[in-house]
Point group: C2
Chain length 261, copies 2
């Protein structure tokens, strides 16, 4: 273990920049996993991280000690920080002082859309994105494709809301969704409140790709036109739409219900 | 219309306090509805507000003008503010400058739980609470009961996420959920990941009450013990749980599916 005690340490300054700047994270292709739960998930599904940061007060914590034992040798570098320095890197209030610094995946696009997937067009809210990733992972979806306008999937807020879903999914970002949809060999379904067909009328026991859009404006018209089916979730009350993450959960678990029954 | 131009105006100071302090809102029994969408919803379902605030730059906006025409006479007081003063009251960035100040409902508890409802135990996140209220309203639920530890339903963040659901629901706060459950004449269902029975095995064509809990800890054990059924949502992937608002959406719309089919 290495100790850093000064705010002027060059590595600490680099980490602080990474912790506080979304642009820095995108440019470096690196992000921070904040807290025990996310770090455990990373270890389980992705293995040892390049860099592990621990607050002095957390070194003896049993869950942290267990994680350090798993990644306390090269290639992982473990750095211990005074709690005040650690706190400036973490967004979790009253958390246990543990952070992994990991590389965000650089992925090749698959040649075609051939299995069940989630497509996200211009989705804005980090909490919604994380919730959708979590629902997709729980529903057995493996592939997620995000348009260039969608929130950065590897930001600390999205990671926290995803609760580890990032590590079991393949998340493609900056994807040309129109091109992907044109070449898809599975039907793409988009939800809309202006159609008659309901999700319950579709046969979802086959692979399908679900397309969800912007919180206010929904899916862009050009993409909606490329979808094989436009479907709605029937409502019984006066409210005409759901939060997009709630909508995604209903759709993905209707597919689970049909597959399980 | 009345104009306020000074930050030192006593009414403006009172409004600023209301806009920035959750405690002030609870004490006054008043809250702010921020933006055109929420104000339209309030007018549609609850009628004219006691107080309407408009930024100078928004007075001529067609949607705002339409709303002012509907509530521009007593008992509504309309106050026009310079945009800088208005901005300090609003949490919506780049919004259209319109706010209603309204009384939060003071409700009597119904004698017993006799119809479909949502019960929330210690739910923390305003976005989750708003999303659940929106899903409940869309699923045709009319009654929501929140424990004392649950986020304040009438805070600006919850109102924004609720997208008007507040105005079509009856939301009881600070409720003793254990007492309510003991006297319930409809079955109370709680979701749990440690049980065998799935939501798809239940007959949901009758009224039921759904109990959802804290984001991290779930429903408290004493309440879980009082639930008629503990049920799970089957998963197909390695993630073991959903975001609570996603979970609520899946449950509430499984009930809608059974009722509609």
């Amino acid at each position: 273990m290495k100790h850093i005690t000064s705010r002027d340490n060059p590595l600490y300054k680099e980490l602080k920049h990474l912790a506080t700047s979304s642009q820095a994270r995108r440019q470096a292709g690196r992000t921070l996993l904040d807290g025990v739960h996310l770090c455990q998930g990373y270890l389980q599904y992705r293995g040892a991280p390049p860099l592990c940061l621990v607050g002095e007060g957390a070194v003896a914590h049993p869950e942290v000690a267990d994680i350090l034992a798993q990644c306390g040798a090269p290639p992982t570098q473990v750095i211990v920080l005074p709690d005040a320095l650690f706190g400036a890197l973490s967004q979790v209030e009253h958390g246990i002082g543990l952070l992994f610094v990991v590389d965000t995946p650089q992925l090749e696009l698959p040649a075609a859309l051939t299995e069940s997937a989630v497509l996200l067009d211009n989705l804005q809210d980090p909490g919604n994105l994380g919730s959708i990733l979590r629902s997709a992972a729980a529903a057995g979806i493996k592939q997620v494709f995000c348009s260039a306008g969608t929130s950065f999937a590897w930001s600390p807020k999205v990671l926290r809301a995803g609760m580890g879903a990032h590590f079991v999914l393949t998340i493609h970002e900056n994807v040309d969704l129109a091109a992907l949809m044109r070449g898809a060999s599975v039907p793409v379904l988009a939800t809309s409140s202006h159609v008659e067909q309901t999700i319950y009328q579709l046969d979802l026991r086959q692979p399908v790709a679900w397309l969800f859009g912007h919180e206010g404006q929904g899916v862009a018209d050009d993409l909606l036109a490329l979808a094989r089916h436009r479907v709605m979730i029937p409502h019984r009350g006066p409210m005409e739409s759901l939060n997009v993450a709630a909508c995604a959960a209903v759709c993905l678990f209707e597919q689970v219900r049909q597959l399980e029954n």
